[in-house]
């Protein structure tokens, strides 16, 4: 039974279709090749690390391994490349076996960490400062026990997070917090305001008592007494015991967990005042345009606002985006901080535009794919649908810009209202370029997206390649305006080139629209087929 499930797991990790087989093999070779390189690098550094670096370097390295090990199974599960144990519940498998399988799955999800640990063990065994090959048994033993600890903890973490992510709203908050976790240390380091706190945290991470420090001390008994080494092993074993208890209890709770019941938790009804304001917002297109365009824009606004996946990227635009870019401005000692500070709002807004693009303009039919079928049979030209979707996206983009402007004022960055106006103009022009390209991408590389899944990539491989390749190219006319300002030291030059860019954007947008509509007409069947794939609202 275990063999059957593991085989299914490995088969599930293949690329989704024969068409993508080559790309999948290349991705796998690249991925594991990258980790092989990292492992060899770790082996090299471990082999040549000076003796005084080992006592704090090894625990910190193991702590990083531990964090990655906990995060990876969650990410791989939400991207669909992992076997969902709940699907196995219908089969006659005892819970003990299911738990064993769960642990084995956590191993298969983290092969790169096993490679890395292997590399570190080999490197440390070759390091004369560690005592040479005679420490290999204790190194390998501690690495194995540490791996077991991580596997057990990862099982519990994944089970716990799965239950949390099954709940409305909580899923978005957790996903946002997970994203912020990656950016907060960088924020603190780059702003330089909390270095003492960070040093303290680093020292605390390598202090005795943590599983990684216990594993490091058990692996390398450098200058320790026998009693101290034994205590490290005991500490490590206690951590393994706690992880086993945590993993097993969380796993059992997960098996009994009723996702539907959690999702059915009654929502607090919105107050009349809230309903009034949200209705006013949704009805706004009706004031600005006539039907059917207004109806399309209104429908898009409602759909996107009700999609957890969109809400997450929208909120990330003015939280994660701000945290990501702010440190660069606050670092005053860099040569380019002047440019960044001057154009901070524009840069963050374009970053936010990039974030929302994955669920809006790059793959505009993907998130509400059942509506795509309607758009193809509705008595309206498809250009109107694409235009409506683009306008809805612009609505949200300018909402992001307004929030970011307010936040930028709040953090007291030195910029004028004129700069805010400039930002609003620039992002409008940039949006025309990227939406033009996005419309073409949406009809050539449509991909079904689940509005509920908050960590699925936004487009197919080819669409992502297209984005990576052409994104800088399409924004080049706008970049030229900034170059003109820099070269001539003149705002007039900037305005002139920007005006020309805007003109080109309008022409480019309509040409791209024409091309997208023609492509959509000829590819209608394949677009609908592509959007019907998978386990989302249409496929099920």
């Amino acid at each position: 039974m275990i063999a059957a499930i593991l085989r299914a797991q490995f088969l599930s990790m293949r690329p989704g279709s024969n068409r993508g087989l080559g790309l999948g093999v290349v991705s796998a070779v690249f991925w594991y090749g990258f980790w092989l390189f990292v492992s060899l690098t770790a082996a090299f550094f471990a082999a040549h690390a000076p003796a005084d670096m080992l006592p704090y370097g090894v625990p910190l390295g193991l702590a990083a391994v531990c964090i990655y090990w906990q995060a990876m199974p969650v990410l791989s599960a939400s991207m669909g490349s992992s076997l969902d144990l709940r699907k196995i519940l219908v089969y006659p498998a005892p819970h003990e076996k299911l738990f064993q399988i769960e642990l084995l799955l956590r191993v298969t999800n983290s092969l790169e960490m096993i490679m890395l640990l292997g590399g570190a063990v080999i490197g440390l065994a070759r390091n004369p400062a560690c005592g040479g090959l005679k420490v290999l048994p204790s190194l390998a033993g501690a690495a194995l026990v540490f791996a077991l600890f991580n596997v057990l903890l990862a099982s519990g973490t994944r089970s716990l997070l799965e239950r949390l992510l099954a709940r409305r709203k909580v899923r978005e908050v957790v996903a946002l917090l997970l994203a912020m976790v990656w950016v907060v240390p960088r924020f603190l380091v780059m702003t330089g305001t909390k270095t003492t706190w960070l040093q303290g945290a680093g020292a605390a991470m390598s202090a005795f008592g943590w599983p990684w420090s216990a594993a490091a001390r058990a692996a390398l008994p450098l200058g320790q007494s026998m009693g101290s080494t034994a205590l490290s092993w005991l500490s490590l074993c206690i951590w393994v015991g706690l992880a086993a208890w945590f993993g097993r209890t969380q796993f059992e709770r997960n098996l009994r967990y009723d996702t539907l019941a959690a999702q059915a938790t009654p929502l607090k009804p919105a107050s009349a005042r809230t309903r009034l304001w949200s209705e006013r917002f949704y009805r706004l297109p009706g004031i600005l345009w006539s039907d059917p365009l207004a109806a399309i824009v209104e429908k898009e606004l409602r759909t996107l606002m009700r999609s957890p996946r969109f809400r997450l990227v929208f909120v990330m635009g003015f939280t994660f985006g701000l945290m990501f870019w702010l440190p660069m401005v606050l670092r005053r000692n860099t040569s380019h901080s002047g440019f960044l500070a001057h154009n901070f709002l524009t840069i963050v807004c374009i970053y936010a535009m990039t974030l929302i693009g994955q669920v809006t303009y790059w793959n505009c039919f993907g998130i509400d794919r059942s509506a795509a079928v309607f758009y193809f049979v509705a008595p309206q030209p498809l250009s109107r649908t694409l235009l409506g979707k683009n306008i809805a996206c612009l609505f949200f983009l300018y909402m992001e810009a307004i929030v970011l402007t307010a936040l930028t004022f709040a953090v007291r960055l030195n910029f004028s209202p004129a700069q805010a106006v400039e930002t609003f103009v620039v992002i409008g022009i940039c949006a025309m370029y990227v939406m033009a390209l996005g419309n073409i991408s949406s009809v050539h590389y449509p991909r079904a997206l689940s509005p509920e899944r908050v960590s699925q990539s936004g487009g197919g491989n080819r669409a992502q390649a297209l984005v990576a390749l052409f994104y800088p190219v399409v924004l080049l006319p706008v970049v030229l305006a900034y170059i003109a300002r820099y070269a001539f030291d003149s705002d007039a030059a900037f305005a002139l080139v920007l005006s020309i860019s805007a003109g080109i954007a309008v022409v480019f947008y309509w040409l791209a629209m024409d091309s997208a509509v023609k492509a959509a007409t000829s590819r209608r069947q394949s677009i609908i087929e592509e959007l019907s794939r998978g386990d989302g609202p249409v496929g099920s």
Binding site: L11, I88, S540
Partner: protein, 255 residues
Amino acid sequence: MFPEAAATAPAILVRGLRKFYGTKAAVDGVDLEVPRGSFFGFLGPNGAGKSTTIRILTGLIPYDSGSVELLGYRLPEQDLEIKRRIGLVPDESLLFDRLTGAEFLEFVGRMYGLARPVAIERARGLMDLFQLHADRKIIAEYSKGMRKRVAMAASLIHHPELFLMDEPFESVDAVGARLMKDILMDQVQRGATIFLTSHVLEVVERLCDRVAIINDGKIAVCRSMAELRSAGESLEDAFVRIVGAEHQMERLDWL
């Protein structure tokens, strides 16, 4: 329950079953007895509690109160004994999208304890029987009808005593539906019990010997097809009357 007693117990025996989602009772005091060897249709309008009941019977979700016995074994205490004996045609979410049809069938066979060569052999046979392409297409690339066929094939691989089927004929073409009906009739003749939900009342009327209609989480009627026919009412008429949908036939002025 002892194995001898289990052998004579009803295929499904449900008493006072309740399941709440928040404060709403999706299943509200359901009593149900499905005799062995019967072809049982479980009907109801959308949101009546059909899928919740079937998910409870398959052990996928817990229930809040009542008792459930399948083939004489109590759920959840003896869930392994039950799972070994049932064949499930679930909603599509339980398929493994990234496996090919043959790989999925082999996997299911092995999960039910078949030796690998036996599972492969049976998978091959079922692929042929259900006219599923034996190419490298993964299930994600199957049409809806093919997905139902592969789910049906998977439910047969271990020769179960009881089939629990959620809309098995949905999206299946006429040839496929005919094949599936023939197979199910065959299974009933060998003594298996079939419990299915369907919105296609003609199919239920033709295949089933007993039906139950659930409405608002409660069993509104549970009787044999013969009893229904003797009342001079078609299943569709009875269904519409029981679920109280007649008033919806009123025409709008502008229509």
